[in-house]
Symmetry: C2
Subunit: 422 residues, 2 copies
């Protein structure tokens, strides 16, 4: 293990929902940092930012080169992630002070936060506060979200692989229902993620290679759900094609903002609990038309499906991790690497950057021009945007029939501070 200890250490944390390729980003961070003489070790937060608050820091320098390299093809968050949002400095001063105390105790000069919009906001806040509290930290946000709703970047690492999973699944299940439709199942509904933005559902449209092939109906959160229009479209499709494949965002909603899947349940934090748009739609269709229906809820399977990851996505996920280290070594601060699509007929991309101040709390929805006029499909423009993001296969190695994913040792650095209860 060649570990460089000439510079200050990096704190790297994974945040929010994990993806098939967030560990590829970690791989990019760690492999690049190991080669970078100006930087010290990469210390990873155990369960994300919670690890910093609890002073539970994983010493990645103790992992073999082979294990780190295997992160590139291992899904989920190898160090643990979390759903934990730091509030404003006024509300959570103690937490920010604790964070900086831990950073100081472990000679951490760089904070890499790998997550979505909320995490970029936190990285931005830490950057400002560390200045005002007299312990300046270099903060780099690293983009990650299956929802593809981060602004400025052409796409978000994690999305391309979900998109590929959803497009492949729609293609495969579509062939299945087509062969059953004459005497049995006529309707198949696939529920996918995307509470506020319909990018994931949109990706199913890539499976449509002929006018009448699936998916026949896509439901986006951006388009108000109209039950009558939906049921008519389903019936027309069955009459014309013989069957109907529907892909629905979990966030599909009525014009008044009520989720189609909303059964009135809320979680401990008062958030509406979703995850039933598929069975809800199936009930509607059975009631109205009496067709035999099947439905699937992909849930975690879609974002964990490293076995069918997009090669483009894996490369980009690695590249934003590498870029974070390069930015830090170059003295940049409060920025996030982004993916820029180059002009030209053939798809190519490069890494750019954007100040965190501009990223924080901006959500990018599907443009109306990406959704077909009737609201049930994607346009050729959307197809051109989406297709390159799912291209390329990057299969993990297999052993005994299963992908050989790595699990790290995750040894913690010795604590130096008193406990802190979060």
């Amino acid at each position: 293990m060649e570990v460089n200890v000439t510079g200050r250490n990096i704190f790297y944390a994974q945040s929010g929902g994990v993806t098939a390729v967030i560990n590829a980003t970690a791989c990019g961070v760690i492999e690049t940092a190991r080669k970078e003489r100006k930087l010290g070790k990469v210390l990873a937060g155990r369960n994300g930012i919670i690890g910093a608050l609890r002073e539970e820091l994983i010493d990645t320098s103790l992992e073999s080169r082979k294990s780190i390299s295997a992160l590139r093809y291992t899904p989920s968050g190898a160090f643990g992630s979390c759903r934990y949002k730091l509030k404003s400095i006024d509300e959570s001063r103690a937490e920010y002070e604790r964070l900086l105390a831990v950073f100081q105790a472990h000679d951490i000069g760089y904070f890499f936060y790998n997550g979505g919009g909320d995490s970029q906001d936190t990285a931005y806040k830490v950057s400002g506060i560390s200045q005002s509290l007299g312990y300046p930290i270099t903060c780099i946000g690293i983009p990650k979200t299956v929802d593809n709703d981060l602004p400025y970047t052409d796409n978000s690492p994690g999305f391309g692989s979900v998109a590929k999973y959803v497009a492949v699944s729609t293609l495969e299940a579509g062939l299945d229902v087509a062969s059953m439709a004459e005497s049995s199942t006529k309707i198949f509904v696939l529920e996918v993620m995307g509470r506020h933005a319909g990018w994931i559902a949109a990706a199913s449209g890539l499976a449509k290679d002929r006018k009448d092939s699936p998916p026949h109906v896509i439901l986006f959160p951006e388009i108000a759900f109209d039950k009558r229009k939906f049921l008519r479209k389903v019936k027309d499709t069955v009459n014309k094609v013989g069957y109907c494949v529907i892909v629905a965002s979990e966030g599909a909603q009525y014009a008044n903002g009520r989720f189609v899947a909303d059964a009135g349940l809320k979680d401990a934090f008062g958030h509406t609990q979703l995850g039933g748009v598929a069975p809800t739609l199936v009930d509607m269709i059975k009631d109205a038309h009496g067709y035999k229906c099947h439905w699937s809820v992909a849930d975690y399977l879609q974002r964990a499906a490293r076995h069918v990851a997009s090669g483009t996505d894996v490369e980009q996920a690695y590249a934003v991790g590498r870029a974070a280290v390069e930015f830090a070594a170059a003295g940049k601060n409060a920025v996030m690497p982004i993916i820029i699509r180059n002009k030209g007929k053939n798809y190519s991309w490069r890494i750019g950057e954007i100040p965190l101040s501009r990223v924080a709390n901006v959500e990018r929805k599907m443009p109306r021009s990406y959704i077909s006029k009737d609201g049930f499909g994607i346009t050729p423009k959307a197809h051109r945007y989406l297709e390159p993001l799912i291209i390329g296969e990057d299969n993990p190695p297999y052993k005994n029939g299963l992908p050989e994913y790595v699990r790290l040792n995750n040894k913690l650095v010795k604590k130096k501070l008193p406990d802190f209860v979060i």
Copy 2:
């Protein structure tokens, strides 16, 4: 196209729920028949046996060698399948007579029925009836079922690929929930197929490589569901491991035979409509313990997932198709090719045969010795049985990020008989 027309034609039909590899069987039938001088064309039923009754016969000799070869990696039923069971001769005499009239009109001397238990029963009936009606037909059953519940054969083509899909998905989703559990999701429930037999759910157990790794709870139809015991096991697992991954058969049921997923719904045929054991279990767990839960229903995705098919399964599916032709050419009748596991430490297999009279309507459930003592897992014996069936990757070719599955032209032979209404 080298098409041999020296012998009588084969009627080939796909039946029941389709699989990731039933077209590999069709490929085995057609490629072998094209080389076999004693046999004529393969005419495939459009939508299975319905195609025979309606005289909708697909002339596979019009498909290119390349298209037929692509069936090997194309999921679902390329000619259409059906759920249509011929009744006894007393109840459905007209249907049997029609079947034989169509066979006679198109010089069909061989009936290949590719399906599960019901289909083997039909093939057996046709065999007997064709003798008594004076138009003897050679009937060969070809095994297919994701449920793995056919008797005598070591395993059923179609099962190995679902097993691989379920094991891979459990592994991947398990890593996901493990990385979220500290501050968010602690429970993940995956619902899989298997109404009467727990083979598919059992396959998830292949993902368990350490004592505490997922799946932590498997629910089999063969083991009476005990709510109290289940909820205690879930809580104990969360306390010990930090999270709990549950894989549930759609057919999980209480001691009195009521399905866990039974919400009182019935389909047009009076069959109980299932497909909600995952959300039902999640409701129980939330009520009892308050954990944050996620759930997934794999449904058609699992049996259509050719992109992650088992190499062993693909080979066996092809082999039973080839064997059907070889049996027919050798003059065998009323038999089904089966897969026999050879003795010895390393897995190997060969094709054998069994009379249809013995297969019909026998259902093979999981032996108790394959299920762990507490009823929530699989034994090492089950592991040894299951593992070879998921080994090997047999990826389809990809184009523009998606598998390049074939769709046949499916040209029908000219009708010679009057219409028949089914």
